[in-house]
Symmetry: D3
Subunit: 243 residues, 6 copies
């Protein structure tokens, strides 16, 4: 099975982290194709960045039409519904995948993300996916996305935030709220003594399950059928869909 | 007060319809500035179109920094959260405005939109804004957006769909689910004998109220503070925010 | 357009405050008619007061049949559903209007009201209107309604309560939970650096929008049709509706 | 134990029906005191009637201060929160009691009421009490309240509506939505072969349980403490509360 | 009327406490039959205990087929749905009964239970019965079930936990979260000055009401019809249902 | 990785179907251990059966302590919370797994199960897991569990029910509501042209993902810690937990 993992920002170092996390849990028969977005923000830390990462995400899907599954590796799940129209194979966002795998691990989970200004988006997604009762808190460690790798204290700060969230919220599990934390899940889990879910690994696991079952996005209601042909103009003219 | 109404698609004929609807309800002291998006789809009929309309919407806000309010005149409210970060003045989507004004008109309302594939997006927005219990049904008249003006039967088809929705759902009011229907609200209301809410007029009304009260988007929680400086690359490089 | 603002208590000084707030945001073409209830409590600070303010509210509507909109200027929105049956033009309560305008200003808002015993009513209304997820907290400043004007510390106490609510709840906006605070919104906003919504101004704004659009309460489902003729006896006999 | 049953309308024939239903299920040690409202509508069939029945309800409570429980015998539960402030003993509405006893009888119940215009009020109450998921439908038999006794076809029409509701909604139980139907519950149950809950009997049962347990309305949060002293003017001046 | 109260654990001392609580509130014409489970755990303090108490509960119902009501006297309401299929008369759990009687006593209630690990089950039940908005907190006093009687400090510890819950949650009433606390409700209420609801007494009260009204579990939807005949094997073979 | 799949009924033919479905999607490095319950009902078609299947399920977990994951292969997810206490590795029910994988396949899904009397249980689970908004309908094909294999018309009846559900509910995907249907998912999907999710395969997929990530049930809140030692008596005495 071929699974395409898309880094919605343009920073290739982060794609490497994501790719490694994906490969670490992949089935032996899975080919992981990691793609870096060709246009948009270098990191995603606002609704503005999130929205403007979408053209790059959709372009990456168009460029890889034959996959058995697509994973959008940013915790804001940018462009998920549009991606589902465009792709035939299933598409998941890493926030979506992470909360789907975290919920069955106990009574409730907490999310620990990067900057506090992104908490609102996480809350919207949690609600949209149906996990408002299971998500007992969303917290920020206040490390910017691109500093996660370079900041020597990332691991200590994040571990402290995870432990605090677990205790304050009465949670049984932690969800890491950024693709840039994908390499830290196992160490975090050891340090806090609780399951820690990274959405990249969770997404690969769920897509693998879907692919093994032969599942594709459903189009019966028409909502996720291919987008209708349309003329596009301006800098996005090449995103137009020929009739 | 200066109110900017943005048509998120690139079709200027539709901007004219929107502009007229906005002006028809504006206060005497309101200046209405109607803007057509400079890039993206000619009409919005899918999640794909919706997502790719956002760069044009944000660009239009950046180009008009001094307004007292912004209205996004597409019923998918594209880029609303991002627009709120970017603008200082309040921003509304027409779906948001329409349901806010329709709810107090009775027990519940129905939405009549263009194509059935857009119903899912409308449902998500209704839920997001808190009106799931008030919205008693969402229906499609199956006329594509750009045919609304040219199809000689639009008025008859739409009136029939509105009357049917009213009866089937037990609703007290109708919300029109497309900016391209903005010129039809009054006639629909006469034909079906029930209030019919157009989101463009509703949005101008709500923004006028906000502007008169001196209200601006709140930034205390940090979520809607200006987006942080960021380098953008590719075709969207000019959307980057200098540090 | 003629907009009738009803003070549901019998204190004319408070009607003056309400009237001034209404006029300060009204359109140039709007006539504001402020009415003081002729029977019931001098202020509304309990469910008991709230319920017994309703006959006076309904009487005021009957006495002013030709308006384009009615605003019930008490944060308990007393008699709202009954008023909608009685009036042809739209009716809003100030709690309803305030939360409708506050929600689009950010992620969430907090309410600051007078006495803590009224918090339950506010919570019920917020839930009824669909804003439970947007209202992040309801707080009391513990100043009785009729002391708001006379207490020299009102402004300082209220500003402190607003700032505290904003910080503790992580809100982006404040809603003032009493018509008697209508004159304080602008100063509160300046002091706390966040949008502060007064329901009287919000209600005038929303009614102006509705009136400009020609909207009336819908009667299609029958719920808000005129109340059926009925014989009334006792002190309320004159509220009876002739057949 | 002394239980006061208040008929919120002014029709004594209906009080007789209510009183008989109450007595038929009362404990041997229970004294049932049936009271007819002294002011307001002769029957309650609109929000307007509902609101204007409240002064009479509250007056009846004030006139009977020493009871162990109060039941408001109109399916709109008029003035319930105010009554709870005023009384020391517990207060229930018959809609409240009926849905509390119907829910444990199966997966879900349906309500069959008088006129369709009252369905909205029933829906609000069901939601307020927490039974939205249990109430599978609300239906009207379209017999006005005061015709229930005189209409020779009441029993047949109502039985048909109950059976239809049971089948269409997939319900396990029926709730009768009017105090004037209190004498019909047993016969309806026999005819449709399913449990039929009358709120008057349900309310007496729940109040008897509360009284036997020595329960009173809680005042710890302050919301249901006695209403504060207040000057009332106009026709309602005698409802004022001396300081 | 004959009411069967089942202690789902095997400890007869606890059955005595439950039986006394039941009798203390029963109608003069009620016969209370207290039954101790014949198989399973000596106390119920985990999901594991809860699940394994169910065969004993169902066996007790089969052994007492002619009752007018059944009460499951463990706060986890073990086997409630199965019991409803098996019995013709109504069945209640004490958690269910307690929250149904506590809700009308004020704005909201708090639950005080034994061990914190049982809080999750209580939360699930509260949500299932529709009282999520009314239950403002669930707290543990950390006294194991079988120590409630023997621990000389039970009353003091529990009173402190109840008072704390009332204050911290802003509640108007307390629900005791264990059948083993049934004898303490009145004293707790005196000590904290607020209504305290014991589920055993509440359950007897509600069942008495149902029995007086002639109510039985509804089977119209089929869900609660008698379980179909089935062959059982292993240690549970005698639970099988002959065809 | 070792994954234990437990058939909660005692019918070995059904275990064979389940086992084959599990193996068909398993990773190359996964060992599937299929276990048939040793006590309880031969099939599960009522709340009574569901509850009495739990001792056998828990016994099977105790007998296989070293797995990396457990799947409860009955659509009622019997004993799930208890199983999570007992096992160290993650535990999923097939209803849980199926809805988790079905939700991301479109706007909403429908469930098609065996007998209509089991619909209530399915609805409870869907709500408990957070998917009430995504599950657009639950339908029965009215084939008893043990007839699924022998009835020559099973495939045709089920396909018709699935197609009908898809159309009536406006769904994008179908969830099969019984482990005994596990071998039919692929053929159903071909016949109706929409994704069809079998919970056995879905569960193996999700457990494989969890195992690859090293996830275990969280015990930080204490709810899912090992059940405390306890003396059990009667036929279930061997289920007791030594201190």
């Amino acid at each position: 099975m071929r699974l395409v993992v898309i880094n919605p920002n343009t920073t290739t170092e982060m794609t490497a982290v994501i790719s490694a996390a994906a490969r670490s849990v992949a089935r032996a028969d899975a080919e992981i194709i990691a793609v870096t977005s060709a246009t948009g923000p270098e990191s995603i830390e606002s609704h503005y960045d999130e929205a403007l990462a979408v053209p790059g995400v959709l372009d990456a899907i168009t460029a890889h039409p034959d996959a058995d599954g697509y994973l959008l590796a940013c915790f804001g799940d940018p462009g998920l519904d549009a991606a589902r129209e465009l792709a035939v194979a299933p598409v998941l966002g890493i926030a979506e995948a992470a909360v789907h795998l975290a919920a069955p691990l106990g009574r409730g989970f907490s999310i620990v993300t990067t900057l506090s200004r992104t908490i609102g988006r996480a809350r919207d997604l949690v609600s949209h996916y149906g996990f408002s009762d299971r998500c007992l808190g969303i917290h920020a460690c206040e490390i910017p996305v691109l500093d996660l790798e370079s900041n020597p204290d990332t691991e200590a700060i994040l571990a402290k935030a995870c432990a605090q969230a677990l205790a304050d919220d009465g949670s049984d599990a932690i969800v890491l709220g950024c693709a840039g934390m994908a390499d830290l899940a196992t160490r975090m889990s050891s340090q806090i003594g609780a399951p820690v879910v990274d959405g990249v690994a969770a997404g690969i696991g769920m897509l693998s399950a879907m692919a093994a079952m032969g599942l594709r996005t459903g189009t019966a209601s028409g909502e996720f059928a291919s987008p209708p042909p349309k003329r596009y103009t301006g800098v996005l003219h090449s995103w137009g869909i020929p009739g």
